[in-house]
Amino acid sequence: MLKIKDLHASINGKEILKGINLEVKPGEVHALMGQYGAGKSTLSNVLVGHPAYEVTKGSVTYNGKDLLAMSPEDRAHEGLFLSFQHPVEIPGVSMVNFMRAAVNEHRKYKGLSALTASEFLKLMREKRAIVELDNKLANRSVNEGFSGGEKKRNEIFQMAMLEPTFAILDETDSGLDVDALRVVAEGFNKLRTPETSALVITHYHRLLDYIKPDIVHVLYQGRIVKTAGPELAQEIESRGFDWIKREVE
C-alpha cells in the first residue's frame, strides 16, 4: 500500500531524513518511535506534502502511484490523512464550512455529487458521536479556543468524516490526559477496517496500549535503525532508547 524507498529530505537545506525504507501493507498498523529530533514529524510532513520540506532523494508510492508527484490535496483525496501534532487554529472559518468544503472536494474527486446541507449535517452528527465531540465545538471556528484534548479529538473527528485509507497519527497522545487518550484511541479503533492502515508516531508506549501496532520501528538520526514486533515498544518503555543508540553506534 505505502512503499517508501531510500527517502532523503531536508528543511532549510538541513538534511533530516537520511534514507528511510518502509513498507506498510493494507490493514497494518505501524508504530514509529524515537526521541525528539529523530525525524518522525519530518517523515509525516513529507508524506503529506508540506511545502517547507524538500525531498532530495528516494521515492514514495501509494497504491502504486507516485505520491511525491501529487499535490497535498490530491494526496488527501487518495486517502492520506495526517492527525497533526499541533492542529492549527483558523479563526473565522467555521468547522461546518471547513468540513463541508473538505468532504465535498473528496466527493468531487471520486466523481460523486456534493452532499446536500441536510445530508451533510446528518453525517456530522453521526461522526461526532464516534469521538464524543461536543456540538458546541462543531459550531465554532476550526480549533479556535479548543483545549489540547479537544484539538486531538477534533482531528479524529475529521478523520471519521473523511474516511482515509492511510492515517498518520503524529503524537496524537501528546497533551492528552488518560480519559481523553482513551476516547481518541477508541475513536480511531472504531474507524479501522481490514483495508485501512496507519502509521502511529509516538514517544511513549501508553498510546500503543490502546492502538495495537503490528510492527514497531525506531527512528534515529533520520534512519530506521530497528524494526520488530509489538514487544519492542514494551522494551523501549522499560529500557528507554539508549540501548538502541548504543547498538547503532
Binding site: P72, R75, F84, E89, P91, V93, L162
Partner: protein, 486 residues
C-alpha cells in the same frame, strides 16, 4: 461628447493647463466663475448661500498635493485634472432607475429610493410599478410614502430647502468645513442637489431606508452630491446607501454627508460601494453626536476604481458612542483610502473602530486613523484596529494609526497589522483535501468576517456574506444580481 447634452448646456471645465501647479484647480475656478448663475438658478438658497465662501476657500487652498499629510496616499490634483462633463443646467438624464435597477437586498424590507447622479427619485419601486415607472407628479419629496412615517422628511435636498428653508439652513454646511479641505470646498461650490433625511424628535423609523445612488452618463462625468441627515433627540433610523455606476465612462463623484445626531438618538449608516474600475469616489462624512447618542457607520468597498473616504466624527455630548467599521476588497489596480478622525471632546464617550482590507494583484490601500482625546474627556474608551491582508507581493498597504490623548483617566488602544495568509492554516486545509484556491478563499472570507458581523441589519449581513464570497471568487465584476450590471 454627446451632442444632445452639449447643446442643451452640459458644461465642461475650461482652460485646463496640464502639469502646472494649481492647473487642475484652475479649471474649476473658471467653471464656477462662468457658471455661478446657472448653478444657483437650479439649486436652492440654503445651498447657494455657502458658495461664495466655499469658492474663496477653494481658490485659497487649491487641490492638495501628496505633500499634504491627509492626502499622502491619494493624488487629488491628478484625479481632478481630466475633463469631466457636469450637468449644471439640470437636464433630465434619460434613465428610469426602476427599470434599470431591480436589485434589492433580498429579504430585507426596505423603503427603497434612488438618486441618479445627484437627483432624488421619489416613491418606492413598489409604488412605481403601478405608474409604469414614470417619475410621478414631478414631486421629489417622499413625504407621503407609505413605507416611512409621515412626519419624517426624505427627499431631494433642493426641494426640501425650498419647502423647509429654515430647517435646511440650520444644519446645512455646519459640519463640513470648506476652509480645511479643497474637495469639500469644491463640492459646496458646485453642488446643486442631493438628499435630506430628517427624523424628528422621538420618531423611530422601523423600516430601513435604502438609497441606491446610480451614476449615469454618456460622457466622462462629474457628480457632486450632498446628503444632509438630521436625527433629532431620541429618534432612530437606519440608512443604507449603495453606490453603483451604470456606464463604462469615467466618473468622478464627490459626496459630502453631514449627519447631526441628537441626544439619545440612534443612526445606523451603511455605505456599500459596487462601482466600476473607472469610477473615482471622494466622500466626506461628518458626524456630530450629542449626549448618549449611538451611531454605527459601516463603509464597505466591494468594487471600485479609486475611493477616498474621509470620516470625521465629533463626540460632542457625554455618553455618545460610535462604532466605525470598514472593509475593502480590492484587486487589479484598485485603490482604497480611508481617512478617519474621531474627536472625543467630552467625557464618557466610546469609540470602536475596525477596518480591514484585502488587497490582491497590484491594489493599493491606505488607512489613516486618528483618535483625539481632548483635555477633560475623561473615561473615554477608544479602540482602533486596522488589519490588512496583502495577497500578492505587488499589493501595497499603508497604515497609519494615530492616538493623541490629553486626558489621564482613559482606556485607549490601537493596533495595525499588514500580513499574508497563514501558511500553516493553508496547509492544514489542503491536507484535508481542500484545494489551495478554495483554502485561500476560506481564509480571506474569514478575515473580513468580523467586519460583516458588525452590521446590525441581519438581511444586509447575510447578503454581504454572499457578496463578499462572490467577490473573492471573482464571480462579481460589479454588482451581483441587479439588472443593470448583467
Amino acid at each position: 461628447m454627446n451632442n444632445n447634452h452639449n447643446k442643451s448646456g452640459l458644461s465642461t471645465p475650461l482652460h485646463y493647463r496640464e502639469g502646472q501647479g494649481g492647473g487642475a484647480a484652475t479649471q474649476y475656478i473658471d467653471l464656477f466663475a462662468q457658471c455661478e448663475a446657472m448653478i444657483c438658478k437650479h439649486s436652492a438658497e440654503a445651498l447657494n448661500s455657502l458658495r461664495a465662501k466655499a469658492f474663496e476657500n477653494f481658490k485659497r487652498l487649491g487641490f492638495p498635493t501628496r505633500k499634504v499629510e491627509a492626502y499622502k496616499y491619494t493624488d487629488v490634483s491628478k484625479l481632478f485634472a481630466p475633463d469631466y462633463g457636469l450637468n449644471l443646467n439640470r437636464l433630465d438624464i434619460p434613465v428610469n432607475p426602476y427599470d434599470a435597477f431591480k436589485c434589492d437586498v433580498p429579504n430585507m424590507s426596505t423603503a427603497l429610493y434612488f438618486v441618479v447622479n445627484d437627483r432624488f427619485y421619489t416613491a418606492t419601486s413598489d409604488e412605481l410599478q403601478t405608474t409604469n415607472g414614470n417619475r410621478p407628479n414631478g414631486s421629489l419629496v417622499a413625504r407621503s410614502s407609505s413605507s416611512i412615517p409621515d412626519n419624517i422628511l426624505l427627499g431631494s435636498l433642493k426641494e426640501m430647502a425650498e419647502l423647509h428653508p429654515d430647517l435646511v439652513a440650520k444644519y446645512y454646511g455646519k459640519l463640513a468645513d470648506t476652509g480645511k479641505d479643497a474637495v469639500v470646498a469644491l463640492n459646496t461650490m458646485l453642488v446643486q442637489d442631493g438628499l435630506l433625511l430628517y427624523v424628528p424628535k422621538g420618531v423611530v423609523v422601523e423600516k430601513p431606508i435604502q438609497l441606491v445612488n446610480i451614476l449615469r452618463a454618456d460622457v466622462n462625468f462629474m457628480v457632486n452630491r450632498r446628503v444632509l441627515i438630521v436625527v433629532e433627540e431620541g429618534a432612530q433610523v437606519r440608512l443604507l446607501m449603495c453606490d453603483h455606476a451604470m456606464d463604462k465612462v469615467d466618473f468622478l463623484a464627490t459626496q459630502v454627508i453631514e449627519a447631526h445626531v441628537g441626544a439619545g438618538a440612534t443612526l445606523d449608516l451603511y455605505e456599500l460601494e459596487e462601482t466600476t474600475t473607472s469610477t473615482h469616489r471622494f466622500s466626506h462624512l461628518y458626524v456630530q453626536q450629542e449626549a448618549d447618542s449611538n451611531v454605527l457607520v459601516g463603509g464597505i468597498t466591494l468594487h471600485n476604481g479609486l475611493t477616498r473616504n474621509t470620516t470625521h466624527v465629533t463626540l460632542a455630548g457625554s455618553g455618545a458612542s460610535i462604532n466605525l467599521c470598514g472593509m475593502a476588497i480590492a484587486d487589479k489596480k484598485q485603490h482604497v483610502d480611508n481617512n478617519t478622525f474621531i474627536d472625543h471632546r467630552v467625557s464618557d464617550c466610546t469609540s470602536r473602530e475596525l477596518y480591514k482590507y484585502v488587497l490582491d494583484d497590484s491594489a493599493t490601500g491606505a488607512f489613516a486613523g486618528k483618535v483625539l482625546v481632548r483635555e477633560g474627556a475623561q473615561h473615554t474608551s477608544s479602540e482602533q484596529t486596522n488589519r490588512n491582508l496583502c495577497v500578492t507581493r505587488e499589493a501595497r498597504m499603508y497604515t497609519q494609526p494615530q492616538l493623541e490623548i490629553y486626558a489621564d483617566d482613559v482606556k485607549c488602544s490601537h493596533g495595525a497589522t499588514v500580513g499574508q495568509l497563514d501558511e500553516n492554516a493553508l496547509f492544514y486545509m489542503r491536507q484535508r483535501g481542500i484545494s489551495e484556491r478554495e483554502a485561500r478563499l476560506l481564509l480571506m472570507f474569514a478575515f473580513v468576517g468580523d467586519v460583516v458581523d458588525s452590521i446590525r441589519l441581519e438581511a444586509l449581513r447575510d447578503r454581504l456574506h454572499l457578496l463578499v464570497e462572490k467577490r473573492f471568487r471573482g464571480e462579481m465584476g460589479k454588482c451581483q444580481g441587479c439588472a443593470m450590471c448583467k
